[in-house]
């Protein structure tokens, strides 16, 4: 399913993966460094906007289940003391300060920032959970699926930004690497990111609908 949604990203994905591999280890890109994000971008296919919207809808539909399963696998108190443990303020999750009246370009940029951050964080979370919960197959499968969908979404957003909105560089921030953290902190960081992800992807699905349906 995911592959059919972003056929134009064949050349972009490897590049993004390379970039994100760097991001996963916690090195934020310099803000003013020229970004190579548009180097291998070609003309977007006509339905890429709709594909993007559907990917966001798909992520929104699966986010809550992913978060619930994640909490179940971490043990108490992650389910019982969610507010104390998983306060999103503890992360650098990008703000999603756009709404339906915002300009399309702003929305695309905001989405790109969010899902670029999410992609990097999902890498950390997946790695940590493969270590901590190797037997939790459903959790790992959902993490992998979400990561794949997120990468497809980033590919589509890159195409839209570079081609339609002529944005060749987006300043992105990433979360802290969980390497070196103690296990409890790893669990906590994953919880914080996923909780915020559930909230933001819901907003994104709401915001994205009117804009992209017109495209």
């Amino acid at each position: 399913m995911g592959e059919s949604f972003f056929p134009s990203s064949i050349g972009v994905v490897p590049l993004l993966l390379m970039i994100h591999c760097r991001l996963v280890v916690g090195k934020a890109l310099p803000v003013n460094t020229p970004s190579p994000m548009c180097e291998n971008t070609h003309v977007c296919k006509p339905n890429v906007a709709e594909q993007t919207r559907k990917l966001v809808v798909l992520l929104n539909a699966t986010a809550q289940d992913l978060f619930s399963i994640y909490l179940d696998c971490q043990g108490d108190p992650f389910s019982s003391h969610l507010d104390e443990l998983c306060n999103a303020n503890g992360t650098n999750f990008p703000n999603f300060d756009v709404n339906r009246t915002s300009h399309k370009k702003e929305i695309m940029v905001a989405l790109y920032k969010v899902f670029a951050f999410l992609n990097a964080s999902l890498g950390n979370i997946t790695r940590d959970q493969e270590e901590l919960n190797p037997t939790a197959k459903e959790l790992l499968e959902r993490l992998h699926n979400t990561t794949k969908t997120t990468r497809g979404l980033i590919s589509n957003l890159t195409c839209l930004l570079c081609t339609n909105y002529k944005v060749s560089q987006v300043d992105v921030t990433y979360g802290k690497s969980s390497k070196g953290m103690n296990v409890f902190k790893k669990k906590q960081q994953g919880c914080q990111v996923l909780r915020r992800y559930v909230q933001v992807v819901s907003q994104a699905a709401q915001v994205l609908l009117p804009h992209l349906s017109q495209a």
Binding site: D76, S80, E84, L132, F184
Partner: protein, 1119 residues
Amino acid sequence: MWDNPSLRCLLAITFLHLLSLIYSQETGFPEAPENLKCITHDLNRMICSWDATSSANLGLTYKICYTNSEHFSLVCIETEGKRADIPVTVGSTNIRITTLNASGTSLATETFVLSEENVSLIPLTPQILNLSADFSTYTLYLKWNDSGSVFQYELDASWQIQILRKETLETVALMNYDSKLTGKDSILSWNWTSDIPLECTSYYVKIRCYINEPYFTGRKEWSEWSPIRTVPEKDTKPNSAMVFPQDKVVLVGSNVTFCCLYNEGESIKFMNYGSKSYPLLRLNKWSSAIKVQNVSASISSGTNVWCLLEPDGLEGTVLFVGYAPDTPQNLNCETRTFITITCSWNPGRATALYRQRQTKYILFERISKENVTCKVDELNKEHYCDFPVHANQKIYNFTLGASNPLGQAESSLLIDVNQRVHLETPVKFTVSTNSSTNAHLSWYIPGNFIQIRLLCQIEISNSNSERQLNVSMAGAENSNYRAWVDALHPYATYTFRVRCSASEHFWRWSKWSEEKKLTTLEAPPARGPAIWRERSPVGETLTVFWKPLLLSEANGIILSHEVSCYSREIMLKAHEVPVPLNSTEIKLGGNDCLISVVAKNRAGSSPPSRITSMDLPSDDVKTELAIAAGNGIYISWHSDPNVTCGYTLKWCISSGSEPCNVDWEMFPSNATDAVIKSALFQPGVRYNFSLYGCKHNGYQLLQNITGYMKELPPKVAPNFTVEETSSDSILVKWEDIPVEDCQGFLKGYILYFAKGEKGSSKTSFTDEENKTEKNITDLTKKSLRILDLQGKTSYRLGLRAYTVGGIGPSKDLYVVTKENSVGLIIAILIPVAVAVVLGVVTSILCYQKREWIKETFYPDIPNPENSKALQFQKNICEISKLRQQLLPASSLRPEPCRVPPLLFGNGGNTALKTLEMNPCTPNSVEVVETQSTVLKIEDTEIISPVADSELPEDGSDPETGSHVVVSYCPPIIEEEISSPPIDEPVGSSQVIYIDIQSMYQPQVNPEEEPEINFVTTAGYKPQMQLPINAMKMESHSPTEEDLDKTAGYRPQANTNVWKLDSPDSPISIQSNNENGSFGSPCSINSRQFLIPPKDYEDSPTHNNTGWSFTNFFQNKPND
């Protein structure tokens, strides 16, 4: 030095001298030294100190003089302080201390004798060189210098180490450590493990020393405590709250202490291990702990331990609880390719630890001293590890070590690699053939097997059989292996597969290769078909039958059969019959011949099958019954000595409308029985067999046989009818069941019968409890008479046929037996006869006693003219008036006041006569007077017991009434006749007969009734009780009953026992008269009849419990 005796002696003398000097000091000067104390740290020199007053004189100095023990010379030293460092001398030493002023003038001198007992040995204060901590293991590591070089010889030293924690310096542990001083400085080390994480609070350490010099006689004391050292803090001490220990791995069942560190301004609400809260132990101002006992295995992501802080915040850590690795079980090492040795094992008990903490395995080979690290997945049950095969090494001694953070275990195995060959699955398996019986096989096995031989097993299977063929072959390196298989069946499909192992030292088979199918080429049919022939009835044609060959015999696809006719080895006719036909017709033309049939396929023809066409005549062929064998039909026959070439049993199975298929089976000449089996045989179907004997000149029909493969119960019930019915028997007839419905050889019928009517709830005779059954085994019998039945009774009949296979269904009939006419007649005649006899007897008795009856009931009436009763005519008139008042107007006519004329009935000569008054014998009649007027009554109506018995409606007590005794002439009855007179021959007596019917009519006005209440107390009561009012008989008062009992005369019949429902009863509905009955059966006045009239039978209240005509006609036969 101390071992020298002369030196010791000298030192002792010196000490004694010094002591004498000390005690000989005069202490009169304030500057004089006093209280000399000496200590030694190294038994070589000692530090002596003293007290002296020096406040008034500044610039005082002291001159200390002692005898040098080595040179026995006096040594003096000056010092400004009140202490001096002097060598330790053996025994006693005289020390003279002189106080000098600034100008060098002696102010005071004191001499001390210092002995060894007065010297204290106090080691130097030890110094901690290094104090480090391993936070992961809660262990402190301490290092210090023992300063052994201070002493010139070996000494025992003891060390005391004190561990303190918290700000309050609570002693956690005080440990002793012994060492030996070697005369050289040594670094000593010691460690201590805490029960709680070192991060939880501050730890402090100090140390002191004690020298155990056995020859030193002075005081030996502990050194001073070393300066206290603080356990260094963790480098990564966070600024925020934390929980310790972090990510620790412990054994299941351990006791673990966790602490929560928090910052200033925070406090702890509670602390949980998993979901359970534990009591807090306060460690210090910023730290609290919990102790968890006997922890159980954690989930894969560990157990969270967390503390909730105020005002907000939650911190935690994760504890992994698991097991140390189990000893690897079932360690097995074998080679598949002679390139590597693969060892596999079962890890045993799960450790509950994964990934980073999971068990790590190392395979170590002792001979080559090589080891390999095994990459295993904890989630898989089977673990594998490869070790390279070394050239020229056959024996391998493996040790598999397992370790995880909680422990380690190992398992060993010694193998000869040549005896542990477990080959890979053969691949590239191919099968080919170019003949009808052979096949070529080829496969590939990876690996180097040059040094061994291989044993390969080839499995050959088809739908009928399976066999395995072992092939030994030389091993090769990464080579194809070939094999040749023969003795296959032509045109058969086989499935091949192969597996291999080492030939010389068998260890294990490899897995089977993939299966390959192969069909061999065709070959000519192996034998001719089984044949039979049948001549037409006239013998002109011969039909030849043959059976198709089995696949194993056909060796290919049969294309046709060639049928030939030979006569004396000369082929007369031949023609080919294509498949699928399995018969053909040959015209013999009156000549017999030898029939030959040959089957043909693409590869060739079968050997011919031959049979003669000649039939021998048969006489008196009997039909026998076969026995059902369940899975076949058992047939037996008598051996015929003339049969030389066997028997043939032929049958024909028809299916539906198609002509039957001829089938047969041949048996040798000595056979006398057989069980014929066929897939076409069906249970319950009759089959006919013909047994032919093969004689030298032809076939002869010997016997016909009929049988079933399995007998079943009859399919239908026999059709039966009731032929005849009588009052006690039923004749039943039935018909035969058609053969196709019998489903077996009929053994008989079972006739059930029981009482029952159509429409009863019972549906079958099995439910019937009182059924009777008759078993009819004589099959020729087609009828049965059921006897001893009850007349006019409904019976239910059921007839079922049965075979060896069971009882068939039942057909039921309902029959009603006829009425028993003799009984009916008897039932009629007996009552009639009894009635007639009774009537005759009664008549005779009455006739014989007629005089007595007359006298008793109807005595002669006296002549009224002679009676004085006429004198009472006036009174009688009054009574008549009274009667007129009582009788209804319709029944009375106004009469003049005279004696009323009475009617005398005498046959047809009825004439009115004046009543002749005979002399009357008055009877005493007591009249109850209810009024003031006293009535003299001669009318019997007035003194009727019925009237007497009536209670007045006003309820007045008749007892209270006055009694009037009147004269009474019983026979005299005055009555106005309202109906035609009835002439009754009553003999010569002239008796007035009153129509009783007329007296039933109401004659009294109820309103007038109270005026005539009379009670008779005794005397005569007439048989007729004429009502004068409408009172009911049932209202008899007890008083009246008593009167009846006490009366001198009683009627011949008791009215109480008379049937009130009789149509002639006075209270009959039609009559609407409620008077009581009267009269008796013998009384001529009675209206009760001895023999009821005909309409008596029509009475609706007739209650006859015996037979009746109505019932008789209600039971009709069931037709």
